[in-house]
């Protein structure tokens, strides 16, 4: 059976840094303040023609670097390409952060001496390894909207539909359609090569 590979993509020509996605995410998963699974950034602000904004979270890389470096092997990649991890296994060493090109892994500070707690990152609203849609899962990983048949909340609530989610091919098609409608060449999207390596 062929599986789609679920991907995020943020269309820079549409992203306006409204932070809808990041707040939708924080609010949907009731994240602690300071943990930003998703973040919107603007580059070259105030420089005409060069300013663009983009929304970044875990890109669920095909060949996820985080998964490669984890000393306790707490990552797992679902058949549909969603990269998840087991917080009960995670030791909060931070290696995934060093490996990640997007700065997706987040570390809450808990415990003595400023130690890092278990890593937290975007789950593409697919929860974690605990029982689906259980209280425990929601507590540790947030909502499991994928299991409910719903779209990840960030992309669903994107104000300008800049943030796309779905299988890689469909996203490419949407993006291509937009670019050709705009009649301008595609910019090289941020991190595209890493997240979309086959």
């Amino acid at each position: 059976m062929e599986y789609a590979r679920m991907k995020f993509y943020c269309d820079e020509a549409r992203c306006i840094e409204c932070d809808g996605c990041s707040i939708a995410c924080a609010e949907a998963h009731e994240l602690p303040v300071g943990i930003s699974r998703r973040k919107v950034v603007t580059i070259n602000e105030g420089i005409p023609g060069k300013e663009f904004s983009t929304s970044i979270a875990c890109m669920h890389c095909t060949d996820a670097p985080c998964e490669q470096v984890c000393p306790v092997d707490c990552f797992y990649i679902r058949e549909d390409g969603i990269v998840l991890h087991d917080k009960d296994k995670c030791i909060g060493c931070g290696y995934c952060l060093y490996a990640c090109p997007f700065g997706a892994p987040q570390f809450p500070r808990d415990g003595a001496f400023g130690a890092k707690g278990a890593m937290d990152k975007c789950t593409m609203c697919a929860g974690g390894p605990l029982e689906t849609n259980s209280k425990e899962e929601r507590h540790l990983y947030g909502q499991n909207r994928i299991a409910e048949g719903k779209v990840p909340v960030c992309a669903a609530m994107c104000a300008t539909k800049a943030l796309l989610v779905g299988d890689a091919e469909s996203i490419s098609n949407i993006y291509r359609a937009r670019v050709s409608a705009r009649g301008k060449g595609a910019n090289s999207p941020y991190g595209w090569d890493r997240a979309y390596t086959k």
Partner: protein
């Protein structure tokens, strides 16, 4: 003086937590910090770290863990330990201060090295509580070492500079490849010990700094950022790579140090417990020092 040092360490620890509140990694500065692999300003350290960690670090540590003891096992079986009389006269080698400092460092190492291995082979232990505990112990037991590393450096540094003897010592690998008890050219410390000293102190400091960077993530040392021109995330990546690479050497030499003190030279460990070395041992293994002591009439 020492009090002041304690104070300094405590302040540094607290300050790092305070810095962390004003986080560079998580704050506005995130994008300049988290550089994508291909981005121009990036040193591609992320990819380098990923490659090294994915393919090499674990294997090298495993090799050290297996091969170094194996070599010693063969050495022990084939050449055997050096045995010196414990009945003869003794030479006072280490004063109380030396011993206390050494012991604190020793205890730290005894915890840090195995817990380090647990982290490296975290998947073998299945992650979770045990490995997390080890990770935290790894960090916490760095504190005593951090306290003694400078006194240790200062108290022995005068004996640790390179000497002609050291070259000779290295040529004959300290005489350990022969069963014969020929005097080996060495001062109070032989070339092996000197190597270990420099690695444990300078390398130790490097391990402490890189470790602290990784432990706190936001351990902001702006001077470092300015000198190196690296963003915080690249500094962290450098830290992770250095911590592992220096770790190989530290672990390997730590094993050597233990083998020497416990197995290769029977009873050598007593010298750091009591402060006294066997005269015969000194005569053979630290012949230059012995000659000097004799000239001074201390034996």
């Amino acid at each position: 003086m020492r009090k002041f040092f304690y104070f300094f360490v405590a302040t540094a620890c607290l300050a790092s937590v305070a810095f962390a509140a004003d986080s560079q990694i998580w704050g506005e500065m995130r994008i300049p910090n988290i550089l994508s692999y291909g981005q121009e300003q990036s040193l591609k350290l992320g990819a380098l770290f990923t490659m090294l960690q994915n393919h090499y670090f674990g294997k090298i540590f495993l090799a050290i863990l297996v091969l170094v003891p194996l070599v010693f096992f063969v050495h022990y079986k084939v050449i055997g330990p050096k045995v010196f009389s414990h009945e003869g006269k003794k030479v006072y080698a280490f004063d109380m201060f030396n011993r206390v400092v050494h012991q604190i460092a020793a205890i730290s190492f005894i915890v840090i090295v195995p817990t380090g291995f647990v982290i490296v082979f975290g998947d073998f232990f299945g992650g979770g509580t045990f490995v997390r505990l080890c990770k935290n112990l790894h960090g916490i037991f760095t504190i005593p070492f951090a306290i003694v590393v400078i006194p240790m450096f200062v108290m022995w540094v005068k004996d640790m500079f390179l000497h002609w003897d050291d070259i000779k010592w290295l040529m004959i690998v300290g005489g350990y490849l022969s069963k014969v008890k020929n005097p080996v050219p060495a001062g109070k410390f032989n070339a092996g010990q000197k190597t270990w000293y420099w690695l444990a102190t300078l390398g130790g400091v490097l391990m402490i700094v890189t470790g602290a960077m990784m432990y706190f993530l936001d351990f902001k040392i702006e001077m470092l950022n300015n000198i190196t021109g690296l963003s915080q995330i690249d500094l962290l990546r450098v830290s992770a790579i250095l911590h592992n690479v220096v770790g190989f050497a530290v672990v390997a030499l730590f094993f050597v140090h233990i083998y020497m003190s416990i197995f290769a030279i029977k009873g050598a460990i007593h010298s750091i417990l009591t402060g006294y070395k066997e005269e015969e041992e000194v005569k053979i293994l630290h012949s230059s020092w012995y000659r000097k002591l004799k000239e001074q009439g201390k034996v």
